[in-house]
């Protein structure tokens, strides 16, 4: 488990919730399990990659930016 502060944990949790909203619960649980093992910068990159691939670059960037702005 990667050591991180509360804000980073919340950031990860919010990204997982975002994935859950767009891809469903099963996908979210898979990403949640993976993200607990990853540092926050990799989590951000992974989420951005996923969201860009499926939602388009503009929407992905805006979503990540809004979530990041709330927590980091």
């Amino acid at each position: 488990m990667v050591q991180e502060d509360t804000a980073q944990q919340l950031f990860k949790a919010k990204l997982v919730a975002l994935i859950g909203m767009y891809f469903g619960e099963t996908t979210a649980s898979l990403y949640k399990a993976a993200y607990t093992q990853m540092p926050v910068d990799l989590v951000e990159k992974s989420s951005e990659k996923l969201l860009t691939e499926y939602l388009g670059l503009d929407r992905a960037r805006m979503l990540i930016k809004e979530v990041k702005g709330d927590y980091l």
Partner: protein, 267 residues
């Protein structure tokens, strides 16, 4: 799914266009006419199962699937009245199920729009509202003119005319649905999840054109005149198959997103 859709397309081409007078052609036509919306329902069910009913997108797709199910039941009833009971299927209980679908579609698409809007607060610059407004007015005008005014037949009963007018009004709903889907796809442009929505839009468009055609050529269709029946049925079938493919694509895309993370989660 692709093979199945291709098979139904071949069946449509054969039974309606290539050999419409072949033995049992009417039954083949009826089979494909019912299997097409059934495929769309199945596509929706698979997509909802992949997403899960507790997710926002899962609930949205569930609403759309309920809408398509209404159309499917309507088609089954229509086919039963026409082929088995030999009762004029228009107007009938089938129309009640057709109409009920529009409500479920509207709910699903409004949810989708609200869902996208709540995720990103700023208005998106890509959506060209004047163009969409013009398209909405033009298509709604067509729906009103052909679907309402042209649909009124003096020698039809008041019930038949009332149902015909209702379809014209409902087709305005189809236009608005199409616009919502266009906004949704614009919001996700460049992303793979836009594709299924484009297919759904293609399906709605085919059904809109077929509905307008039915409103104008109701008599010819009811008389089973070949060109009108083949054209309109083919359009409806194409619409259902496009929706089936789109909904199936949702499930495939979600599955591929899950596969993307599986190698990482195993590390």
């Amino acid at each position: 799914m692709r093979l199945w859709i291709l098979l139904l397309m071949v069946m449509t081409a054969w039974s309606y266009w290539y050999a419409p007078t072949a033995p049992f052609a009417q039954w083949w036509q009826a089979a494909v006419y019912v299997l097409a919306p059934a495929s769309a329902v199945l596509g929706g069910v698979v997509a909802v199962k992949q997403y899960g009913i507790h997710s926002a997108q899962g609930r949205i797709l569930c609403a759309l699937t309920i809408g398509i199910t209404g159309w499917f039941v309507g088609e089954v009833l229509w086919t039963y009245y026409e082929l088995i009971a030999h009762i004029d299927p228009y107007p009938s209980l089938a129309d009640l199920f057709y109409f009920s679908s529009y409500g479920a579609f509207a709910i699903g698409l409004v949810w989708e729009l609200k869902f996208l809007r709540t995720q990103v607060q700023r208005a998106r610059p890509h959506v060209e509202w004047p163009v969409l407004a013009l398209a909405a007015v033009t298509l709604s005008g067509l729906a009103i003119y052909f679907g309402v005014f042209q649909a009124i037949k003096p020698d039809y009963s008041w019930l038949e005319n009332a149902v015909a007018i209702s379809y014209g009004v409902a087709d305005i709903g189809l236009v608005l649905m199409g616009l919502v889907i266009t906004v949704v796809t614009a919001e996700m442009r460049g992303g793979k999840l836009a594709q299924p929505w484009w297919w759904f839009l293609a399906g709605i468009s085919c059904i809109f054109v077929a509905d307008i055609g039915f409103a104008v050529f109701t008599f010819e269709y009811e008389q089973q005149q070949w060109l009108y029946k083949a054209s309109l049925d083919s359009l409806w079938i194409a619409g259902y198959l496009a929706m089936a493919y789109g909904l199936g694509r949702f499930a495939v895309l979600v599955y591929s997103a899950q596969r993307n993370i599986r190698p990482v989660s195993r590390q």
